[in-house]
Symmetry: C2
Amino acid sequence: MSDAIVKQIEEQGNEVRRLKGDKSSTEDAKNEAIQKLLALKLAYKEATGQDYAAPNARQSKPKKEEKPKEKKQQQEKKPDGKKQTLLGVGTKKDENYSEWYSEVITKAEMIEYYDVSGCYVLRPWSFAVWEAIQAWFDSGIKKLGVKNCYFPMFVSNAALEREKTHIADFAPEVAWVTRAGQSEMAEPIAIRPTSETVMYPSYKKWVQSHRDLPIKLNQWCNVVRWEFKHPTPFLRTREFLWQEGHTAFANPSDAEKEVFQILDLYAGVYNDLLAIPVVKGRKSEKEKFAGGDFTTTVEAYVACNGRGIQGATSHHLGQNFSKMFDISYEDPAKEGERAFAWQNSWGLSTRTIGAMVMIHGDDKGLILPPRVAAVQVIVVPVGFKTENKEWLFDAVDKVTKDLVAGGIKAEHDLRENYNAGWKFNHWELKGVPIRFEVGPNDLAKNQVTAVIRHNGEKRQMSLDGLSEAVKTLLDEIHDAMYQKVLAQRDSHLKTTTCMEEFKKLLDDKCIILSPFCGLPECEEEIKKASTREDGEGAQMGAKTLCIPLEQPKQELPSKCIFPSCCHAAKAFALFGRSY
Amino acid sequence: MSDAIVKQIEEQGNEVRRLKGDKSSTEDAKNEAIQKLLALKLAYKEATGQDYAAPNARQSKPKKEEKPKEKKQQQEKKPDGKKQTLLGVGTKKDENYSEWYSEVITKAEMIEYYDVSGCYVLRPWSFAVWEAIQAWFDSGIKKLGVKNCYFPMFVSNAALEREKTHIADFAPEVAWVTRAGQSEMAEPIAIRPTSETVMYPSYKKWVQSHRDLPIKLNQWCNVVRWEFKHPTPFLRTREFLWQEGHTAFANPSDAEKEVFQILDLYAGVYNDLLAIPVVKGRKSEKEKFAGGDFTTTVEAYVACNGRGIQGATSHHLGQNFSKMFDISYEDPAKEGERAFAWQNSWGLSTRTIGAMVMIHGDDKGLILPPRVAAVQVIVVPVGFKTENKEWLFDAVDKVTKDLVAGGIKAEHDLRENYNAGWKFNHWELKGVPIRFEVGPNDLAKNQVTAVIRHNGEKRQMSLDGLSEAVKTLLDEIHDAMYQKVLAQRDSHLKTTTCMEEFKKLLDDKCIILSPFCGLPECEEEIKKASTREDGEGAQMGAKTLCIPLEQPKQELPSKCIFPSCCHAAKAFALFGRSY
């Protein structure tokens, strides 16, 4: 098997070299050939468990590899001879954010690697973030009258292919079940990459009259997109968790109104829970959800690599799917005619957690925004000796219990096989917003020392009214984290009408507001013109992150930013390199 | 394709007939041949969308079919010419519980049928029951220190096959992904039928020392078991939702203690939420989870067909998996030796909802236990005319809002295109525990009329202190529903030491306590001896539901119930036909 792949890889490699040397070959042809080569290499890796190395390049340079690092961790020894993970993050975020990210998510115990490529274990430390997001968003949509449900994860080919534009987008990434036990299935069955085609045949059945509308359903589930690009935990994974809302209305204005209500909830997840500012906007024609009328999005900015990251999207599907799936009823206004439903779909995924890690983390590790932290306060005993240990541990226990009773997520760390310094590092790495140091001196003054994770600040806090003071402090931390990220972003959010300046700003890790005609061809040209190595070995050009709903105050220039585009600018678009 | 299957079906049919006619053939051989025939027929159905009908038996008798019924429903016409589902349940529960079940779950809008066999849509009306169970159980396990997480749904073949006994149980039902987009995968990847083999390689990594124990994780997820038996919504489906808890301890007593703590929570789901009494017990050697040390279970009784139904299981895995997956650490007690973790796994699935429907429902439809009902009180205006409509609707709205403010799940039905009688039937079919009829006469007396779903009782309730009174009434309803089911069950729970009486009791829809030696071979003999047509066309014998933890007060006879068994009875086992 792997021999056959090796041969294909070699042939495809030759083809890529030929295209690169041939001045008449188009960028598209080259890109396509490169993508195919990468896919073959991934297939090789899946078949053999090893990266493909060209015969003349074997061991020429170390590969970026996740697994070996993990092994390295396991080989670290504790002083007592037992294995443990190496404490602290070995890589600086500024120097190699990709390495840094891998280290943080594993050492903070958010992610465990897994033996199916592109799939990762979400450990309790990261899953708690997801649970906090779920609780908040679920309560928000229920107030809008949305109800939860569960549709099957399997899709028949017939249903999947019903909407052509839509499936063209997903077909290359669909995973197919073809065998059950020892039996080959008569018809392969797909695993949902998203559930439009799963749900809408039911919607057709349920809609017999305008009185059956609106339908407002949501499900929390897993979906599978078998991408062949390099996977990254949370940010690009083959299976991920999300919610997907699917609603249908009798008129377009109700549908459109909901698109923006949901977008506001998505902005709330970022602003109010994750302490991350986002830009609300519409996607360009090129970037919108295939088969929908328009897509709205919340976009965040990742300072360490200057990239934009799509936070969540809320789509207005118009009548496109309702016509394909015949979600219709007798039009009460026009006798004898069918009226088709107006539909939306909207989704938020575990990618949120990856954005949170990238945006807030620092060289010490993870920084958890207080409202999604599994532990908001970690209480650590300090300065104890054998003679006062029991007394001190009781005091630590009491402080912790009082906080918990006050509604704070507090835990203590009374382990005796680690010293206080080790614990400080450990909980900083894990990103707990507040550390309480509880020692005899502070207790004598009826106080504890609070150390704030995100800025390292120390302050004494009285034991009287502690829970209320901690709640206030958690809000203060949330706001400060938000403001810090906002300032970072705003200092990298530039406006220009000049393509040369645009490229320079892009290389300076900026996201850029520029006048844009909105045409997909022109967006493609801008992408090509701004493409260069991104330092990770990948080619990356700018694309539109969104057309911000709130446009810059300055007047819109008449011309699109792309010099050879002769169309009028329709709006300022936000451009950037992007996840 | 289907021609090939037809040929195979015909050949296998001949083989089954040959075996049935051949007195020297064993029951096992016959059963195996029949199972293979059924699997082929299912494959035919999946390939063609139609049931297989033998050439000489076409249209000989109407097939039990789900889809046509659904079509029938859609063809019903409303008086105004619009399509609607037929109101009311057309089949009596006593006459044909299987037909009745299909009607109730579709007409009560719990289930929508789906075009992948064995998969069903959980609509909000049933999913709300699952959400109530999730909230209660999740809070219960968190108090025990269990944390939620998420592991991938895909399993590599290598991991899946690690534990042989375990995988022997699941292999025939595993769904395999072999293709992504257009590419065949080098190695097929399985979809989890349960997650022992998914999780335990990570547990191995995480356990380096006894200090890394206990590990207590749970996930709420979907699993796939591609069964070839006839599927039934909720009760036997190819994809289902469940929680699976997986814990690991340094010593067996902590592990065993947890097995029973979880079992108590499972009993709580049935007793305290679903108003269903259950028997707690251990599974026999034959029925226990493969690869585990022992399995505990909660078993409910379904009166309409006299069957037992397994409610949820909590397994003690002993060290079997930890040895296979090397979840071990240096033994602090014995230098140089490895100690292996003691493990449990435990699961509760959406089958709970099916049990609830079967056990509580009546000829009018579903009956929801109050604590899992999406709507606990439906408020319906009655006796209104044009002149007082606005005033009355306002009163209905106020009553509803007051209930909601008081923490009751209340809704009103102010639709004007349905009369009150239609609404009564509709909400009875959907099983809402309490209906409020709000009309001018009652309002004049500062009261409303409450109609209780499960017993049809009417009572007047004062508008003063209504929410508190409703809360009390909901608890009263819960208790009454529980007591009713308990009485039904206890009148069918018999004890015997005589095999002939055993068989008679079984046919009288009883579950039976009998002395039992515990040996798998003997259980097999008892099953064979008690096998007969169950009225559904299937062969069904008795198996042990469990060995009840609470044994009958009477003295255990010395001998096992099976006449030719010469082993001593170990305990009273609870036998029955079973789901």
